[in-house]
Amino acid sequence: MKYVEEFRDRALAEKLSAAIRAEADAVRSYNFMEFCGGHTHAIFRYGVQDLVPANVQFVHGPGCPVCILPIRRLDDAIELAERHGVILCSYGDMLRVPGSKRRSLLSVKAQGADVRMVYSTLDALEIARQNPDRQVVFLGIGFETTTPPTALAIRQAADEGLTNFSVFCNHVLTPAAIRHILDAPDIDPEQAVHLDGFLGPSHVSTVIGSKPYEFLSETYRKPVVIAGFEPLDVLQSVLMLIRQVNEGRVEVENQYARVVTREGNTKAQDLVDEIFELRPAFEWRGLGMVAKSALAIRPAYAAFDAEARFDLSDKTSREVKSCECPAILRGVKKPKDCKLFGNVCTPDNPMGSCMVSSEGSCAAYWTYRRAETLAEMAKDKAMAEQAA
């Protein structure tokens, strides 16, 4: 596979690793937040931590769309499938996320709701065409990467005059979330992690370009490297961030230049603009209400808006108590700090969203670094007991 295997080369990885070790200043620490779940996954799957020194730390951000969907919106989706009897289509990871009372789209499917996993909005459209007597709702989630395919599906449905297709829109915007984290008005300063830089979104940036991150260097004085999702991309980006820090530079650099430009995909951006408009605010699991952080379907396309078409009931949605996802998504806690981790909460029986998606922090720690994490938890516990 061209453009894949080259970026997983072991010899190059060792070179980059050696450079990082050499250039990282042993007397300080480097805390870099990878916003994207894609980076989180790559770091864990390839064991990137083992190739960087201990003072280079990855802080996992809220960049897993499955993880940050507030439980209320998921309960709404379950209501669409159950009470309104629609064919509810969504991407695979979304199906296992627990909503209120630990019910997921998968568990209501097991009880008879018509929930279907799709690989593309094209499939959802096709399901609508083939079931003209059923309402088909696509549960649209994801960042700027996933938004254009949803926009295209809505335009296609409009062009075809499909009357049984709509989108339950939960598309969210990365720059707003990053800004929110840095503003962090609600974070206890003692808890707050100092961030020395950002691994910038990879595939999101192919759509929106690197320009939207420039406020990070300009306003917040944080180094940013737009980074690819392959392990060598991550290593190289870390090296670039270390160099910015060491040199006192604060820039938006683009490691992922093979696909990301400063302007991004303007055709896709225009299409998104045509179909969607900014929501004044949207709730993110973990972050709370974030201003101008999500998209809604424009009134002109209201016929394809599931929120307009279906009467969604008021509901009190409840997170599992003592699930630390909110703090983890803000980067202020790690999975090991959750007492449910690995105990009652596992990917087969997730209590929080971070344990579901392979891009969620808890899932990544469980799946790829369970031995170390459980050992650390045991150590923490022993220390706490000693202290008490």
Partner: protein
């Protein structure tokens, strides 16, 4: 969620569709989000849509930088010194 992979365009079809190959695996995808696309292009594929073309030139530059980056700054300085 943002899973996307590079694929080679092997045929451009009607209705903004194209056939792509990923290391021998062939799939029909939408190229409606791209301005133009030609056989031989590499594109980044996400949930059935091509999101962006891949620049061969930039990819090679990145790999070259990696090989370089793998050198310690000190060595780089040395090389620079040697050359000077």
């Amino acid at each position: 969620m943002c899973l996307a992979i590079p694929a080679l365009v092997t045929a451009v079809l009607a209705d903004d569709m194209a056939t792509v190959s990923l290391g021998g695996v062939v799939k029909t995808v939408s190229v409606a989000l791209l301005d133009e696309v030609a056989v031989g292009d590499y594109v980044l594929l996400h949930v059935g849509y091509a999101l962006h073309k891949i620049s061969e030139e930039e990819a090679e530059r990145t790999l070259a930088m990696m090989a370089e980056g793998g050198l310690l700054q000190a060595e780089l300085d040395e090389i620079a010194g040697d050359a000077a």
